[in-house]
C-alpha cells in the first residue's frame, strides 16, 4: 500500500543497511522487522500528538501506554480488512507518505539506530562479563523497549532539552556494561509482580510498555543518569503511583 517507503526509511536511519530488506522470519532475525518499524513510526506520532495536548510538568504527571502494531499476517489472519495495521495506516494517510521524510522522525530513527548499535557493540565486546546473547544484543528491538523509546521521542518534541538527553546514548560503566543494561533489566522484579514476570522490558505487555516509556521519560530529566536499578525502580514507582491517581476517586490530574 505504501510501497517501499518503510524499508527506505529504515535504510536511511541505519536500522537496515543500504539495499537490505526486512527479514522474512522476524523472531529468528537480529534485524528490525516490518512490525517493529511500523510500531516505531506509530508511537513517534502518537507521542507527538500527545505533546501537542500536554506540555511542561504535565508530561510527568501522565501515564502512557505505547502502541504495539499488529504484524501484517496476524492482522490478516484475525480477519481484519487489511494486511496493514490500522493505526499505522491512519498515521500514514493522515500525514501523507512524504511523512517519512519528516526531519524529526528521521532524527529519532537515527538516534534509536545509534542506541541499538551501541548496545550490540557493548554486548559483543564482552566487557563487564556481560553474556553475548541475542536477547541482550538486541535489547533495543524488544517490542516494549522500541515502542516506549519512540513514544517518548515523539512526546518530547516540544521539550528540546529533554529530547537531547533522550537521544544521547545512556552512560555505561564497569557495573553497567551496556547502555540498555539488559542483564539488570532481566533481573528486575517488583514485589507486586507475579512469579511469571520475566524482567523489565522483556515482554510486550501494556504494563511493560508503560514502565519502559516511564523509564526513558525519567532518564530524559538527567543527562548523567544511567539505566540502572535505581532508575528502573523509580520508573516503576512512578507508574504505580500515577496509576493510583488515574484509577482512584481522588482529584483528577
Amino acid at each position: 500500500m505504501f510501497g517501499d517507503t518503510l524499508r527506505g526509511w529504515c535504510q536511511k536511519v541505519g536500522l537496515l543497511t543500504s539495499g537490505e530488506d526486512f527479514p522474512d522470519v522476524g523472531p529468528k532475525s537480529e534485524k528490525i522487522t516490518v512490525k517493529l518499524a511500523r510500531t516505531f513510526i506509530v508511537n513517534f506520532y502518537l507521542g507527538k500528538k500527545m505533546a501537542d495536548k500536554i506540555s511542561g510538568d504535565k508530561i510527568d504527571k501522565t501515564i502512557y501506554e505505547p502502541y504495539l502494531a499488529d504484524s501484517g499476517t496476524a492482522a490478516y489472519l484475525a480477519g481484519k480488512t487489511s494486511l496493514i495495521d490500522s493505526e499505522y495506516q491512519t498515521i500514514m494517510e493522515t500525514n501523507g507518505i512524504n511523512n517519512l521524510n519528516d526531519k524529526a522522525l528521521i532524527e529519532a530513527g537515527k538516534s534509536f539506530s545509534n542506541l541499538h548499535k551501541a548496545q550490540q557493540t557493548a554486548v559483543k565486546s564482552g566487557k563487564g562479563k556481560i553474556k553475548n546473547s541475542k536477547s541482550y544484543r538486541n535489547k533495543a528491538l524488544v517490542e516494549s523497549i522500541l515502542s516506549g523509546w519512540s513514544f517518548v521521542a515523539g512526546l518530547l518534541q516540544n521539550e528540546p532539552d529533554r529530547l537531547k538527553v533522550h537521544y544521547l546514548i545512556p552512560k555505561t560503566s564497569a557495573k553497567i556494561p551496556a547502555p540498555l543494561n539488559a542483564a539488570e533489566m532481566s533481573r528486575f522484579k517488583h514485589e507486586d509482580d507475579p512469579v511469571t514476570y520475566r524482567g523489565y522490558g522483556t515482554r510486550s505487555s501494556p504494563n511493560d510498555r508503560q514502565r519502559v516509556a516511564q523509564l526513558f521519560l525519567a532518564r530524559s530529566l538527567d543527562e548523567k543518569s544511567s539505566i540502572d536499578h535505581k532508575l528502573m525502580q523509580k520508573a516503576v514507582s512512578q507508574v504505580r503511583a500515577l496509576n493510583a491517581f488515574k484509577k482512584g476517586y481522588s482529584h483528577d490530574i
Partner: protein, 184 residues
Amino acid sequence: MRLKRVIAMTFNFRDYIDFSEKLVRDSEKTTIKARQLALLSSSLIFAWIAIESFVNNMIDDFNQIPPDMFQMHEKAFLLEKSLRFGDKGVNIGKFIIDKNRNEFRRLEDKIFFLIAKFSSANNIKGDTLWQSFERFRDKRNTIVHPRRDNDLSLDVEEVVTYQNVTKKIISLISENVLKKKILF
C-alpha cells in the same frame, strides 16, 4: 562459627511473610518452650514488618512523582517531615516542609491516609479486620516494649491468625489504592 562478613540485602513484604511462616514451622520442630516462644515472637514481628514494608514502599512510590500532585500537608505526611510556617529569609510567610525535622507517622495513620486519598472506602475501623489488626498491634507492642509485669503468651494458631491479618491488610490497601489484587 560466627559470620564475619557483612550481609546487605533488600527485602520486600513477600520475603517478610516467608520469614514469618518459616519461623512458625521452626517453632513446631522444638519442644523447648522458651525457644518456641522466641520463634513465635519473631514470626509475629516479621508479619508486622511485612505490612510496614508494603506501606512504606507504597508511600515511596508516591514520593517519586511530581510533588505538586499532593497538597503540601499531604506531601509532608508522605515524607514524614514537619510542615512549618517560615518566619525569616526567602521563605518568610510561606508554609515549608522542614526536611531537617522528622515527624514520624503511625502505621495505622499511613494506611488511613492512603485509603482515604485513593478510594471511597470509609469507616474501615468499624470492620472486623481492623479489630483483628488492633489485637495484632497490641500483641506486637507487648513484644517490642517488654515489661517485667507483662507475661508474653503466644501459640501457633494466634501467630498464623496474625499472618492472615497481614495478608488481608495488604490486600485491602492494594485493592483500594492500586485497584489491584495481590496474590499470596
